[in-house]
């Protein structure tokens, strides 16, 4: 089991800052795509070291799950 956390800050003007934690590689990318479709345009994106860590099977399953739910 992997723990995924998302911190979302919606500013007074409506701008949104999202911090995705615990998801790596394509799983992280899947969350990013899902949230950008949900909220709006990506103005800026910063990857941290965890993004580049090897994925596990759990992350691949998550990506498929998000894809299926989005259909």
């Amino acid at each position: 089991m992997a723990q995924h956390e998302v911190e979302i800050n919606i500013s007074k003007t409506g701008e949104v800052k999202v911090h995705i934690k615990g998801a790596k590689g394509k799983a992280c990318l899947a969350y990013s795509e899902w949230l950008s479709k949900l909220i709006g345009k990506v103005k800026e994106q910063q990857y941290t070291s965890e993004y580049y860590e090897p994925e596990t099977k759990a992350r691949i399953n998550l990506q498929q799950e998000l894809k299926n739910e989005g259909q």
Partner: protein, 156 residues
Amino acid sequence: MSTVLILAPVIISNWPVIVAAAAGAASALGFAAKQSVDETVKQGQAEIQESVEIELADSQVISEGMRTGQEIVLKRGTVELRVTRDERGRCAVCAKGVGHTKAELRQIAQEFTEKMTQCFVYNRVMSELKNKDFKVVNEEVTDDQSIRIHVRRWVD
């Protein structure tokens, strides 16, 4: 840590969802739904009533199921706000009131659209996070009026 995203919200939704966001903003900013004809309009006939309109640039109100001319009318003191769908399908907020300059009304309308956008994003995000089985760890409104949400879920 994995990634940090900065997103500019785009409001594309049907009228009931826009109404919910406008109601949230109205509540937060002390506006109330207007009851039929009121004294503001009557007074406005005798005094000069300024009016300004601003639109939410990245917005699209889906007209399906929406009656022609449908709008939300809100009031706070002598200020009246009308939230409508303009001819281009965008969400527009018109502010008018006696005893206020155009600049003041523009500021009030701007403050309302920002709060409405914040409410829209909050409602949308919370609904989708719950659909994806995220549990809310913490939720707070900070000193700068930002809404901070912290959610978590376990994945196989």
